[in-house]
Amino acid sequence: VTRALLLGLLLALAVAAPVAASEEKPTLAELEREVICPTCHTTLELSDAPVADRMRAFIRERIAAGDTKTEIKASLVESFGEGVLAAPPREGFNWLAWILPLAGAAAAIVVVGVAARRWVRRTPEEHPLDPELEQRLDDELARFDA
């Protein structure tokens, strides 16, 4: 149990450390993947629109000024609205966007699981072979063996 706890702790640290570093010292490349160009509706990394160039310059300025990722995103939202974020913030109605896909996947797993269980449980007794067909099958097999 102690080993498992330690392993869990190590894994949590391994995940949390880069996340914290990314929050405190974001890079242009990662923000380009998390921000949408408002004119072409692709992520910034895929856009060469004038506004995308301006946004990249702004992000560079804010990174150099020492802003955190959250602060930079908040500044962008102030000018361009929440639609500028590639993923909606986890708050209010936006939670639906995060929960619905997971709920859908969970529901699909349950449905497939239940269907598979029913299918496996189906025994031949539940669907007995027609005696006439069974006899015919036996005859065919006997003829084949002969």
Binding site: P38, P50, V51, D53, G83
Partner: protein, 184 residues
């Protein structure tokens, strides 16, 4: 019991799908509204200009199109990074200065732009006419936006008249459409 659960689950699934279809329809209808306006104006109709309320670019309160009912309005959509908008800005300022006493308002809508950039642009070109900042770009879809700059003309009754100019306008185009808006 199992049958009842099954019916409830099926009903829930149908409800979710129906909700998604309604949301999709609403979104498409919003996008189509602007295209409908464009077609109507091109066909000589004078549809009512969709009203909006946006934050003023200078941060001093809000601006609504309906604030200017009774006046003719040149409604110009722009952004500071747009090249042709730089050519249009002095022409719009000049028109505002010459026609404001006759009941014309130039109303700028700065969208898809940093507020600070928009403010710098207004200062640089000495723009004194009212300018709103469309943070979420809500007006763009409603007016059938395709690319900056775009200009509509609204008469004193709040109807769209004249041309929907997509791209940079000429001085003659601006004058002619202002005359139509004032006289309509």
């Amino acid at each position: 019991m199992a049958r009842r659960v099954k019916i409830v689950l099926q009903a829930a699934a149908v409800a979710v799908v129906a909700l998604l279809v309604v949301l999709l329809g609403w979104r498409v209808a919003q996008q189509e509204e602007g295209r409908g306006l464009d077609d109507a104006v091109a066909g000589g109709e004078q549809p009512t200009a969709p009203d909006f309320t946006l934050e003023a670019l200078d941060g001093d309160g809000t601006i609504s199109l309906s604030d200017y009912r009774g006046k003719a309005v040149v409604l110009n959509f722009w952004a500071s990074w747009c090249g042709p908008c730089k050519t249009e800005a002095p022409l719009l300022q000049s028109a505002w200065e010459r026609y404001r006493d006759r009941g014309l308002v130039v109303l700028g809508v700065d969208a898809q732009d940093f507020k600070t950039d928009g403010r710098r642009f207004a200062e640089r070109y000495g723009l004194t006419y009212p300018i709103a900042h469309d943070q979420d770009g809500v007006t763009l879809g409603r007016y059938g936006y395709s690319a900056f700059p775009e200009t509509w003309f609204v008469d004193r009754e709040g109807r769209l008249v004249g041309e929907h100019i997509q791209g940079e306008f000429s001085e003659d185009q601006l004058e002619e459409n202002i005359r139509l808006a004032l006289e309509s």
